[in-house]
Symmetry: C2
């Protein structure tokens, strides 16, 4: 941690990080932004989202995962989810994420082309999940169809350095074995990460034991998917042996505490995962089960529950949370040579958090205050690749009113059609 330092940006990259006085001498002609009461951090990395589901924010609250999916989310998605929905939902989600300090997100949803175009338009960094699921949606019909459409996008947007890709099979219970095998081969041939829900609930594990005679982790291991390309999301129910196996194979984890708590799914043993050497990132999951896309809030929740569930107040100290939301997140996504820390040569993805408000005063330890006392409204500035995306708490350019207006248009439609069709399928 440095005090009174200046970050020098040139051509979208961090050129220097040095004491302010020295910076003024060395770069006398640079355009300056003076932020005396702020902490500068690497941009936050949200390692698991379903961005477009922002339009379904808070729907079906206080329901268990299975009922939430089958009675609320899937019927609504079946009826409403199309390219427009994903466009508007992604725009709302990206606005919310940028305003709360997220500069990169790892998404899994249908019509990823709509999310990619929105991310390009708004200038946030994206790992676009190429979704694969065992039932038809408006995006694709069969698993092969999902894959074909997904990989086509990978070619179409290959030129954009801010857009990366991951294969995104939904879960072991929603994608068949033949498709998972194919994905295993493709991931290795194309060197793509595999972004997947895994061990989200004990029910998922029990069901796999019944149908496959083994846990989802063991099943993926058998299919050749348990390796350093795997981004395993949730991991609430994992045995010490499974933790060891995940560590040995180099698989990475994403911790989504608020979604897991809210759905009563359990809580991931993050301190143990980290102790075993597993890379662990933070994610919000979709806003339908959170109900925000706020990594600062997620850090606080993650810190509190790690201590509360273990009874150990020294578990997961504040610095670990900041790391998980920045450099560790970048490592999980394979982007740590490019982002995740304020180092010379990396892309200038960084944020400023204003600590001058009453809830972060006095500021005996900025790291602690950021994790435990700051809220997203204190994120005052955000840059992605050196370009300002948020300044003094407002989007640059400030199109928030239009985005809100468009999202409100969906409010009535979605609220009214809530409980009409309870048998359909879709995905979350």
């Amino acid at each position: 941690m440095f005090e009174n330092h200046a970050l020098v940006v040139r051509a979208g990259r961090i050129q220097d990080l040095l004491p302010e006085a020295l910076a003024i001498q060395r770069y006398p002609d640079a355009e300056r932004q003076h932020l005396p009461t702020h902490a500068l951090l690497p941009g936050l990395v949200n390692a698991h989202t379903h961005a477009a589901m922002a339009l379904l924010r808070g729907i079906g609250t206080d329901q268990p995962l299975d009922r939430w999916l089958r009675q609320f989310i899937w019927p609504l998605e079946k009826r409403w989810m199309d390219r427009d929905f994903v466009m508007e939902g992604s725009r709302l989600a990206i606005a919310e994420m940028l305003l709360s300090g997220t500069t990169c997100f790892n998404d899994m949803y249908f019509f990823p082309d709509a999310t990619i175009e929105t991310a390009q338009d708004m200038g946030i960094r994206l790992v676009a999940g190429l979704p694969v699921i065992g039932f038809p949606t408006r995006w694709a019909e069969t698993p092969v169809d999902y894959l074909r459409r997904g990989l086509e996008l990978r070619d179409r947007y290959a030129h954009d350095p801010q857009i990366r890709f991951a294969l995104a099979p939904h879960a072991v219970y929603s994608v068949d074995e033949a498709t998972l095998k194919l994905l295993s081969t493709l991931a290795s041939e194309l060197d793509l990460p595999v972004h997947m829900h895994l061990h989200e609930t004990q029910t998922e594990v029990a069901e796999s034991m019944r149908t496959q005679g083994m846990s989802p982790i063991a099943y993926l291991d058998r299919l050749g998917l348990l390796n350093a390309r795997l981004i395993a999301v949730h991991l609430t129910a994992v045995s010490p042996q499974e933790i060891e196996r995940l560590a040995t194979t180099g698989a990475a984890a994403v911790h989504c505490p608020e979604s897991n708590l809210k759905l009563g799914s359990g809580i991931s043993p993050v301190a143990e995962l980290r102790r075993a050497g597993i890379r662990v990132a933070l994610g919000t999951d979709g806003a339908a089960s959170n109900d925000d896309l706020d990594l600062l809030g997620e850090m606080k929740t993650a810190a509190l529950v790690a201590k509360g569930f273990s009874g150990d107040p020294t578990a997961l100290p504040a610095g670990d949370l900041i790391r998980m939301a920045t450099l560790e997140g970048a490592r999980v996504l394979g982007l740590d040579s490019e982002i995740g820390s304020l180092e010379t040569g990396k892309s200038a993805d960084f944020i400023a958090i204003d600590l001058s408000g009453p809830a972060t005063t006095p500021c005996h330890d900025p790291i602690v205050q950021i994790v435990y006392a700051a809220t997203r409204s204190q994120v005052s500035h955000v840059w992605v690749a050196g370009r300002p995306k948020v300044a003094w708490g407002r989007l640059v350019p400030d199109r928030l009113a239009d985005i809100i207006r468009a999202a409100r248009g969906w409010e009535g439609r979605l609220s009214r059609s809530g409980a009409e069709d309870k048998t359909a399928e879709g995905s979350a």
Copy 2:
């Protein structure tokens, strides 16, 4: 829940609550405040604070309760805690609370006269704890001395309807039996609530079993303190029998989930307490173990951990949290005839939360969005007894800069003297 309604205030009280169009007809000359994207709620009640400890915000983070008290908090308090400290700390805490929607707090700290005067000056409602603890501080020497000084304040400020009082013995392990007996008599004679830490940790319970041969709850029962006047704070470790006994005697509880989680103390079985018919309020505890005084954040944490710890996503639904932070809080403090709900005749203590931002859009259910997605920065207006205390997110009058400056003055002093004297006593 009413939509498009108007709240009519006259002489500090709620005179009417009716559809907006009707209000304009019926009260054509009233001064109007139009808040079209806002939810109006009763002012939030923070039922357990050590307000002045805002100056010790975040000190000793990631430490267990006992070490946190003995190595960090008590030595700092011994060295620095005086009338000035309490004045400045209370001012900072009250600013933070008003700005985040709290209109009434139940405090326990030394120099309560300083907290009372600050509360009067800033116009927030206060239940002032008259502290009693078994060791000397600058505020008082002996238990009898603590009591004498406390009761003197009760007479001095008796004329102010916004200031109420409670006896505030620290805990069973820090106040001797004779003093607790005396408090039991006084509480009943003077009809005062008794605000006390109880069953905060399993260590506290085990220690009482060892020294008294019974749990702190049983011990208070024997001393005649387990009754409808008791405000029992924390209750993380309680047996079904103890819950039943608390319910039978009419004792009330205060749930402080963030402090309990952060210190690894355990978590109160709030859903069970409520099912047994026990009044349960919400509290932040002091900012030294939270690290903010933000009841909106506390509601979200309380909702999430109730579900997460029980595995039951239907536990403690969103509406229960709002109730605990408002009407139930008022009932716990014995103030529900005066505050806690938007009802004609009650004091006009109410707040407006702006739901137009991205994280609360779309707003399929305002109750759910307030609990799960809103943050304190969305509290735009606050009134206490009809007087504006916050307008458009700023204190009225706006003295925040002065308050912050004064608090920053303590930052250096306190940070530097951290670990010098580890043997002293004090209290938190």
